[in-house]
Structures are given as structure tokens and as C-alpha cells.
Symmetry: C2
Subunit: 573 residues, 2 copies
């Protein structure tokens, strides 16, 4: 865009490429809504006012004209879709920029995984910016494909789409001044996202003093207020599982609002397709009493400012022409979306194609050593018929768990699952380097009656997690996912009864998001029915049981991890 053209159009010396006429502009710079036309040249807004002529005109009479939405923190992989399929789904909902932290694919594929996410996003009418995954693996107890250290990450900071360092989940490492964490934080002028659930007082001061600028883990007004006071940008999360928006609205004060924004973190395909993306957060905030322009502000310029995206997130001269036209604040139906001055979605439909095939670097990622017959055995002490053991207590549809102790039956020298107590067996099989590592434990609360389910989505290292009532079905489930090179599956009586392939890194489909949403929905329902599982989303719940940084008791390929003690613990209590 040359300045001369912008100036000439703004002065009315020549027509704009496009004029959005007759609408009410939602001005997030002043908090106002008022009638004004918007004149656009190429990818920029040239002027906001009356009396502009355009080579093309969009009639926005009776409509709201607002800036395109930004999601400041999202793991695209949680939708199980590729960035380009993600874009097809969210752009029609008004999202025009996302800041992704692709730590899921990074755990599976390392730097080439990050490159895939950016490559796949190229040419899309969605700006995809990357915060570099700061914690791959998430903990020393998880076997990711690779370790991304400061030497790997440093050179990537020069990439134009890279905005900084992603969520620093390793807050113990920050507080203990771990040298490698210090090296990651020490890059000059670095923007670093935070992840600090429940951190408070002096430890929170220390975490913030280290240069970490945001947090998306607040669950209460008090937690958000303490962080806002210390200068932390609070990312108000409205994901599929973690839904903090309503609880946090009370923390958004007239001044502190400047450092608040909406994010989704993890949002599943069905929620994105059915309820929307950042538009959903805006709608919900308004429904709960937030000033509508303020709600739009938290979805636009507040995010852009935090990430120092210049002239993005408002309707003003010289700003990037990312524009959403909606019916009104109540329904907030997104009718038309412009990205860099081009109409890219209308009436909920994308007007662009998804990218092509995923490259070899992110395919064929499930590599396990042949399973021995006793891979899932848990030997018990000789001579006892029952023994006290650690058991993971499931919290349905949440990423945390309880650490329980239960008496488990011993048979043929091995600890056994116990249907009477709703206790199944669970295993995590290393799948990146075929090391043969298998961690085995027990889990209570799925309600599973028979068979097994398995997943190569298993946060954050995405090893293969399998859970079932018997070793044979568990083994068949593992073999099915090796054959499909990733996915989710259910096995009963040795037969695969359900299988959703996730060929990209074992965590993403290559299908459109609406299709993925249908498939996942059907998969969960049929799996519940076939195996008698009570938990609403068994695969997602299972996927988080391997995440060794969220309390209390988790399982990795090295065995149980007591997250509070931050150490590996044996099965026997």
C-alpha cells in the first residue's frame, strides 16, 4: 500500500477500492458507536467519515461495522484441525488474526511441526502469529519427540510471524532460576506469555519480574485482580473446557480493561462450529452485562496492542482493513468479514480454499517398539490378594485429576483393574522414538464396562495413551492406532469398534472442521454406548491424564507423576 493512494482516497481525490456505506462504526478507540462510512484502499482503511465514493460498495445500512477479532492465545491443534481448516471455520465468525502457541505439534514434530503450522497458514485470510513453545516437553517426566531449548528457539525469534515466547508453564523453573529457563527468558525485548494458575504473593511478583507479561489461567476475580495490579495482561479464557469468562467479568474495571482480552486456549471443533470463536466470547460478555463496545474492544485492539501489532484492531485511517459487519450486539450475527480489504466470508461461509496436503514432516509419527505380552503388567507383592495402590481419580472433562489410594486385587502376581470400584488400567506408550517405554497405572471414574480406548492425543508429549478393562483390548487399541498412524479408537472383544484417524502428527485430521466435529461427536457417543463409559468426553478426559504439569496424579511413559511433589512415584502406595 503506497501512502499516496491512501492520502488521495482519504482526501476524496479519487474513489476508494471499496466503501462500506451506511453502517454504524463500533469505535474501540473511544467507546462510541456512530454512523460513518469506511473507505478502503487495497489492504488499508483510508478514511472513516461521510462522502466517500468507491469502485465497489457494501451496503451496511442498519448494521454494525467493527474491527476483526483476534484470539490472543489458542492451540489450534485442540480443534484437531489444521490451521487452514481452522481458518475456514473461524474467519466466518469474524476472527481475522490468531496468535497460536503450537506446542502440541512441537511436542510431536519439533521445529518442523512449527514450520508446518506457519506454512499451512500461508495465503490464508487469517493472520497466524506464533508464540514459540517455551516448554517442550512440558516437564522432565514427559518424552516428547524432541527437547526445544533456547538454542533451538532463539533463531526462530527473527521470523516475522513469531511474536515472542509462548506460555511459560514451567513456573517452578522460573522461580528456581533454572539456567535453561533463564536463557529462554533472556532474549532481548522478548514478549513472554505466562501460565500461572494460583500463583500469588511473592512468587507471583517473581514470575512477573522475570518478564512474563500475560496469564490465561485466572479463574477468580481475586486472582485476576492481583495479576492486573502487577501489570499482567489477563487473557480471559473461554475455551471448551476451561470457561472463565463469566467468572472474570468482575475483574474488568474501567482502567484495568486495557490489559484484558478474550482468548480460547483450547476450543474443540464442535464448539467452534456450533457456538463460534471469539464472537462467542463477545456475545457472552454482552449477555452478562458488559458494555458492548468494551466487549468488542477486549476482542480486538486490546489483544493487538499487547502483541504490538501496529494499526490492527480498530476502524481508523491507515489501519489494516480487517472488518466485520454484524447485525447488532444482541445476536451478533457475523454477516460479512473483510481481511486486508477483501471480502473473505459471507453469511457464515468462507470464500476461500483450505491449503493442500500436509508434508511428510508431520505424517507417520507413531513409532512404537513391539509390545511384549507383559507390557501392561503391574507386578504386585507376592502372597497378597489385594494391595494398596495409587489410582488416578478422573475429573470428567477437566484437565486436572485426583490422586487416590485404593486397594486393588492381585491375581497371578499382578495388580488388576477392579470394575466393582470403577477402576480401569491405563498405560502411556512412548511413540516418538520407539524406546519401548511404557508407563502403567490405574484410573477411577470412567465407568467403563468392557474394552479399551486409546488416543495419540495425550497432552503434552502426545505419546499413546490407552485405558481399558483388560490388557488384550488395550493392546489391540494400540495396534489400531499404529496402523492408522494416529487417532482415537475404541476396541471391544479384540475388535476395533470405532476409529477416527488423525494422520497429522497423530493429533490433527486433514478434514474440514465441521466434518471433524461430526466425527468426534459420533465417536464419543458410540464409544460411550459400546463400552458403557459414563464420562461425557472420554477421549478428551483421557488425553489430559498424561499431562504431568496439572495436578494431582498423572501418568507418562516413565510412570506416575505426583505433580505437587513434581516427581515420579510408584504404583504401590
Amino acid at each position: 500500500m503506497d501512502l499516496q493512494s491512501l492520502i488521495a482516497v482519504a482526501r476524496g481525490e479519487r474513489p476508494a477500492d471499496l466503501v462500506i456505506r451506511g453502517g454504524h462504526v463500533v469505535n474501540v478507540l473511544t467507546g462510541e458507536v456512530y454512523p460513518a462510512d469506511v473507505a478502503i484502499v487495497d489492504d488499508r482503511i483510508a478514511a472513516v467519515g461521510a462522502g466517500y465514493k468507491g469502485l465497489a460498495v457494501i451496503d451496511a445500512t442498519g448494521r454494525l461495522v467493527m474491527p476483526g477479532f483476534l484470539d490472543g492465545h489458542v492451540h489450534v491443534e485442540s480443534s484437531m484441525c489444521t490451521p487452514s481448516q481452522f481458518a475456514q471455520a473461524v474467519v466466518p465468525h469474524g476472527t481475522t488474526s490468531v496468535i497460536i502457541d503450537a506446542h502440541e505439534i512441537a511436542n510431536v514434530c519439533g521445529v518442523p511441526g512449527l514450520a508446518f503450522m506457519l506454512d499451512d497458514a500461508k495465503g490464508l485470510p487469517l493472520d497466524v502469529y506464533l508464540m514459540l513453545p517455551s516448554c517442550v516437553p512440558a516437564s522432565p517426566f514427559e518424552s516428547a519427540k524432541t527437547i526445544l531449548d533456547s538454542k533451538d528457539l532463539g533463531p526462530l525469534l527473527a521470523e516475522p510471524q513469531v511474536l515472542g515466547m509462548g506460555e511459560m508453564m514451567n513456573f517452578p523453573g522460573v522461580l528456581q532460576q533454572d539456567p535453561e529457563v533463564m536463557a529462554k527468558l533472556g532474549f532481548a525485548n522478548l514478549l513472554v506469555d505466562g501460565h500461572a494458575p494460583d500463583l500469588t504473593g511473592k512468587d507471583l511478583n517473581a514470575y512477573v519480574a522475570a518478564g512474563i507479561s500475560s496469564d490465561h489461567e485466572c479463574r477468580t476475580v481475586e486472582e485476576a485482580r492481583e495479576k492486573l495490579r502487577l501489570g499482567v495482561h489477563v487473557m480471559i479464557r473461554e475455551g471448551s473446557v476451561a470457561r472463565n469468562l463469566v467468572d472474570l467479568l468482575g475483574a474488568v474495571s474501567p482502567i484495568s480493561q486495557e490489559r484484558c482480552m478474550f482468548v480460547t486456549d483450547d476450543r474443540h471443533a464442535d464448539d467452534l462450529v456450533t457456538h463460534g470463536h471469539i464472537d462467542h466470547a463477545v456475545r457472552k460478555a454482552i449477555a452478562h452485562g458488559m458494555d458492548p463496545v468494551l466487549a468488542v474492544k477486549l476482542a480486538t485492539i486490546n489483544c493487538a496492542r499487547y502483541f504490538q501489532l501496529e494499526r490492527v484492531g480498530a476502524i481508523a485511517p491507515g489501519w489494516q482493513a480487517d472488518v466485520v459487519i454484524a447485525d447488532g450486539f444482541e445476536r451478533l450475527r457475523i454477516e460479512t468479514v473483510l481481511k486486508r480489504g477483501r471480502v473473505v466470508a459471507r453469511e457464515g461461509r468462507p470464500l476461500f480454499e483450505a491449503s493442500g496436503e500436509a508434508p511428510a514432516t508431520v505424517r507417520d509419527t507413531v513409532r512404537i517398539a513391539p509390545l511384549t505380552d507383559d507390557a501392561f503388567r503391574v507386578p504386585g507383592p507376592a502372597g497378597l490378594s489385594a494391595v494398596r495402590a495409587r489410582v488416578i481419580g478422573v475429573v470428567p472433562d477437566q484437565c486436572w485429576s485426583h490422586s487416590l489410594e485404593r486397594d486393588l486385587p492381585v491375581q497371578d502376581g499382578d495388580l488388576q483393574p477392579d470394575p466393582a470400584q470403577d477402576i480401569a488400567k491405563i498405560a502411556v506408550v512412548e511413540r516418538h522414538h520407539a524406546t519401548g517405554n511404557v508407563g502403567v497405572g490405574f484410573v477411577e471414574g470412567f465407568g467403563i464396562q468392557s474394552g479399551a480406548i486409546a488416543s495419540t492425543v495425550a497432552h503434552d508429549a502426545h505419546n499413546l495413551v490407552v485405558m481399558g478393562t483388560n490388557d488384550r483390548d488395550m493392546r489391540a487399541a494400540v495396534e489400531a492406532l499404529v496402523a492408522s498412524q494416529g487417532g482415537l479408537c475404541a476396541v471391544k472383544d479384540g475388535q476395533v469398534v470405532e476409529l477416527l484417524p488423525l494422520p497429522i502428527g497423530g493429533i490433527m485430521s486433514d478434514q474440514p472442521m465441521a466434518r471433524v466435529a461430526e466425527l468426534v461427536e459420533a465417536l464419543q457417543a458410540r464409544t460411550r454406548a459400546a463400552l458403557g463409559i459414563r464420562v461425557e468426553h472420554p477421549y478428551m478426559t483421557l488425553a489430559f491424564l498424561a499431562l504431568s504439569v496439572i495436578p494431582e496424579l498423572k501418568l507418562t511413559d516413565r510412570g506416575y507423576v505426583d505433580v505437587h511433589r513434581f516427581e515420579v512415584v510408584p504404583v504401590l502406595a
Copy 2:
């Protein structure tokens, strides 16, 4: 500052270098005031909270603890003091950072003048950032020492203290897409300050679309609102002459406040010494009803954010330890000032030294061709005793003027000043390259009875301006300023009766600011008395009569300039 130390102190693992204890923190991030201690390590704030131990302690019981103030747009030269003397005066008033646009010295000394301003500021407990003068000379009608074009300015953008391009006064050049103006605006990711009095509608849209981000020329709420709507940061000016603060408070809405800040633009030594600097603006805003924390916010973080000064302008962990301790919001007496963690002023006194001598590059700058006897003659048409002529109408103490027409007497073939009409003669003598250029005209309204006054402060080219009742005294005044190599002087009956030397560029003293304030005050009073002048500040008023970009009629060394028509016009009407 190493991260480890910050973290260790914030966690309470070891004592801070300094703790400010018992005060109430003014938190511009949330709009709150509450009791909290502030722990400092080296140049950074490590923590804000309770229970910190320090190697040193400042007792702030009953006091407010707030961030150091920033002035987002100031011409230091207007104080007639050097940056280091300026710092000695303003740091005790709580100013810890200034963004200067040194276009006055740039007109006199070019790039070496800018280098002097930055060099002189080195080592001071005041961060001095530079916006590059975008309009040297201010117009094609002014003969500055040099022309600073995009090729001169471009390389300077890489300097760490340089934040962008200073006020783009040449708005006609922007609107007409002048190639050199486009080149100046075209540097990548450039922050450009604006100067757009009365610009509105499509022309304002065009000026903003060109990438200009601020304006300090608003005089009414309506003007400020229109600019804020378009994304312009409004610099609320409270200078010595232009005092817009009270008039603009109504434009500061709950959302638009984010893009408002206080600046001084031009503030004289006596005002700085007597009333203060940015603290004065805060005090005045509070007195006129602004929320006190909001007033501090406009003086601190709002400015820092606009200029992308990271972690400056608030009291929070990891932020630069620029801290002001004051008695309360009512008097806002600044008791202690910390810059980067060091106490640098107490009870109104600086605890640091000014810099040394100014270098040769900014001395001996008054170079004029020998004046001929008829240098100030204005030949009239033959045979008439009076003739219609253009006359500058003085607006006392303002930078604008009226364009008048008056009948002037003709004697010995030349137009004459006319005491009966309060009309004196005025001349501008080129003084940078001894070209011999002299522009001569007439001026009404000083009330001068006899003698002449002269000044090498003459915006913006700072040629030598002289005004008087007769050519002889005018010439003596010019010669006095050549002898002193710059300054302000008054001559009566051929004798110098007053002289204030300004040896640095002919526009700055090398004396402390309090001394300069006294000298200027005395000079103006004695000059008024000696020559019978009615205008309160005759030298300042005179200095603006050469500024060819502020309406209506001005005089440069090329002659009269009709500013509205933007062309040179003859004396005869």
C-alpha cells in the same frame, strides 16, 4: 539487571537494594491507590507488596508512591537552557523521561545540533529520547543553517535514543503528497508525531492515514474528539503560551483516555522553575476535577505506551524503577525522585551535576554579512507622502499574528515607521551563512516608544530578528548580538541597555535554569521600562514573528510571508 537477582529479591530470598516502605502506591494499571511496599534491585522494581527487606529503606509513610512523569513532546530549547540544565530543573519536579523534538537547535546547527542535545543528556538521571525534526526548515521561506531531508534523517533512526519522526508541521506537504514528505513518512514502522491545528474532515483523515499518530495542537474538545476517533493520540499541551489543558479535559472519556497524555511543547524557564513541569499539569488536571490516578496515568504510562517504552511508566515488577514520592494529590509536592532505582532529587533539589561545556559545533553560530547603511530601507513609490503597506499585527504573547494594511508615511523616498499608529520597523537578518539576506517590514502593537530590541531566538530558522523605531538602533542591536554570538538585547540611543547572551546556538544559555529565569524576567521588565514597550513578553512575541507556518503575516529573511496563501508577498499592499 540480571533476571536471577530480580527473581530472588521478589521471592524474598535476599534483600532488595532499596525498599520504599509504608507508602500508598498509585497504580496506573488499575486506577487504584493502596498501601504497598516497593522493592528495588539495581534499576528495576522487583516487587510490589508486603514483607520485603532492603539494604536501604525509604520511609514513605503517609506518602504517595507513583511512577516518574514523562513529557511526550517538548522543545527543550524553549527553556533557553541546555538538556542538562533542563534536567536539573525538571527532575526534582518528578520528570524522569522526556521525548524531545530538538528542531530549534537543528535549524541552527543541523545534525551536530541534535548530537549535542543527546550528548549533553548523557549520564543524566533523565531519559532523553529524540523525535527527529521532520521540518527543518519549517517552510521553504525560512533560511535555516541546513535542510534536513530524508537522506539526512534516515540513518539517525537507528540510534537507540531516537524514537521516530517529530511533529510533521508540513501538513500541506502531506496532503499534496510531496515526494520528500512521503520519503520522510515512508521509513518502515515509523512513529510520526503530528502537528495539525484545525485540520478536520477528509484532510484530517488523509493526514492520519499517512501514518501520523499524534497531535499536540488541539484547542477544543470537538477538535480533540474528532482526532481521537481517528486513532490520533492527543497530547494535551500545557506550555507557557499554549495552555490547552483545561479546555481539553472534556475530551478525556473513559476509553479515549488511553490515547491522551500531558506534554508541554514550549515551556519557559520561569514557568518550569516557579510552577513546575508535568507535575504542574497533573496538579491542574486534578484541581479541575480529573480523577487523580487518571491524571497521573496521563503523565506516565499513556506516554510510555505511545512511544513503546517497554516497562516504563508504572510501579510493577520488572519495570524501570522511576519513582516519585509525593505528599498527596492536593498539593502534589514532589519530595523524592528515583531514577532507575537511585535517589536523584529530594525536596526540590537535584542530587546530580549538570554536564560541562558545550562544544564548538553549537557555538559561534551568528554569522552575518556586514550590514550596509541601507540594509533596513524600504523604498516607496516616488512622489507620495504616504502609501498603503502590509503590517504585521502583534497578538501579545501568542505565536500567531494579524495581517493588516496601514497607510505609512514616506520620507526621503522610504517607508517609515509611525509611532502615532504604534507601528515600528522589523527586520530578519540571515545569520547562518552570512548571505546578506535581510527581510524588512512593519509591525503594529508593541507600543515601543524608542530604541530597538533584537533576538537570535526567532522561530524556527532562528535568524536574527530586530524591531525598533529607527534604523540606527536596530543596527546597533544587530551588532551587539553578533558580538555576543547570540542572545537578546535592547538598544536605546545607540547604546546597548540590556543584553542576555545565549552562546549555545544563539538560543540557549549555559547558565542554570533558575538564573536564566531571573535574567529573562529582569531583561523583559527593564526592556519594557527603557523603551516604553507595552507587550508583557516582547522578546518571545518578537521571536514568533519570524515563524512562517503560523498565520497570518510573518517576516523571514526573504520578506513577508502570507501564511494562508503560503507565499512571499511585498510590503506595498
